[in-house]
Symmetry: C2
Amino acid sequence: MTAGSGRVTQAQVARLAGVSQAVVSMVLNGSDSLRITPETRDRVQQVLRETGYTVDIMGRRLRGKSNQILGVFTYESVFPSGVADFYRPFLLGIEEEAEQQGFDLLLFTSGGRRDGRRRIYEAGTNRLRIADGSILLGRHNDPQELAQLVEEQFPFVFVGRRESPTGPISYVGADYVAATREVHEWLWGLGHRRIGLLSVTEENEPTLDRRAGYEAAARKHRRPPLVFLADDPAIALRQARDEGVTALLVESSAMADGILACAHDVGLTVPADLSLVVLGDADPSQQPHAHAVPSTATDWSMFRIPRHEMGVHAVRVLVELLRKPQSRQLLLPCTIHEGATAAGPSTTDSR
Amino acid sequence: MTAGSGRVTQAQVARLAGVSQAVVSMVLNGSDSLRITPETRDRVQQVLRETGYTVDIMGRRLRGKSNQILGVFTYESVFPSGVADFYRPFLLGIEEEAEQQGFDLLLFTSGGRRDGRRRIYEAGTNRLRIADGSILLGRHNDPQELAQLVEEQFPFVFVGRRESPTGPISYVGADYVAATREVHEWLWGLGHRRIGLLSVTEENEPTLDRRAGYEAAARKHRRPPLVFLADDPAIALRQARDEGVTALLVESSAMADGILACAHDVGLTVPADLSLVVLGDADPSQQPHAHAVPSTATDWSMFRIPRHEMGVHAVRVLVELLRKPQSRQLLLPCTIHEGATAAGPSTTDSR
DNA sequence: CTGAAAGCGCTTACAG
DNA sequence: CTGAAAGCGCTTACAG
């Protein structure tokens, strides 16, 4: 029934129904509908049906109204080409909860890329504003853009803890501090007394949280922190051995692969001589593609990041945020998977 | 520098710079910038920088009328929970090309479900209209809804060939007719003279296309069509054997699994006594979950459905459709994978 | 050569 | 009780 010219507008409907455009809007929004004659109302609704009218989200949004659309922004592609599927469990939760809450999801793919990365601000404009609010996702992120988002008070939730100097950021993260502490406690309970941490120089939130958890646990047992840098796994491993370390917490499974690969050369057997625990899931996208044999064959001792739940809660938090603009932070617990790379120490260390 | 109220507008910048709002817009867009005094220009740009102005995409898009949003509608969840990931390769192509063409993607998750399925029409209104046009995806589809979409001339492209009595549907599909013909030719070339087709009673487009391709090939070689119904694989297999069939085209890998499972009982070895070719990819979502051992272990002879390309072209066709409303149909070629379940016949059949 | 005015589609306060 | 008018932020045709 639509004229060929694409979209039906309220003005067109109004003309057909013989009323003013404002009346059409009122009939649609219903709230003040009592004031409109039932006949007028019916006539308008008739035309609305005949023409197949739907609101233009731009117009509505411009007026400051919600469209029931949540944005999903990722710095990389959402649907990756490799086996690596970092986003999937998050998105699964996001989709599930968006459906539950009655929101559509808008994936921001329009912007093109700079330096191989997507951008939130394109020529100075915030693309996310099409949506009512947005979920941000991904390990990479641009602190500048985050700061700007905060400054313009755009409602968004980061999946993963993030901080910004401009103000509090809403996030739903995994509680790395607590999980790392628990891993330390577990190893301590197994009898380990020299527990080390293999970390990176890069100081993003996940790394800092793991280190904080580790140091808190070490402090609790009045042990000096034994932190090694993972730049060269062989060197780090030798250092750890020389320090008498019997259990090593490792930031990522990729790192752990590196350690495992040279453990033999250093004369260490895992877990007999050295327990290895990965502080997180085996993240498939981190696996070096060069290695044909997937390291997933190793049943790593580790903790699991509740990615699906994080997605679900990110949507919930965002929806709350839309109702009441006030930053929210939520950390979800990780669960320890005992795996096969950690065991009690063979020789109990002297206290 | 922004006032607490969130956003800086062109009007605010104009006031600060002592010019009209239109001039600010012109300075920003640059095209007609020659007409503006260099001093005015500089002053405006100064204020723009100081205030940290960013364009509101809403206003701009409203002016241009296009939202640059493509819908993606699936009757099931886009991000599935199981290993089964039917949509992924399509979505990969869709995302890639949407990015190329400068469109955002809207996933329709708001509608809730009826009978476990999503719906396009919710209370008589077409939800897809929020987007400029939409891609439809999925094996399941509601003919009624399709018919209605066609009738209201909503721009959409189906991934996979579809037909509707109400009018031509735009689609990007895989050319099952040609692919099935090619498989037949290939088997004929190997020496097979009694080539059968294992099909289903359900008459959807993919099934009909495969049958059409098969029958065309059989006709070409003046052979009667040998079509068996897959309701009971054991019975079908016996029938085929009794008919002297040496090669069997099978609609899906799930069906092929069934055949393979009872081939031994019927006294047939694959491919020595019977060649089996799957008319399509092993579709993971079709695998029966009960079987612990994945049938992907079998290196099926088959043809590959160009899912990624179909996604890419669906976006292209939709974008063209938006420019010029006129239905388009596109079939992409499949490629044969020779695999391990087809070979030359052991005893050449009499002509 | 310049800048004010119209209008994109919408909602709501406000005048009749 | 009703409906016309203002305005959200923007671009561009058009009048001065």
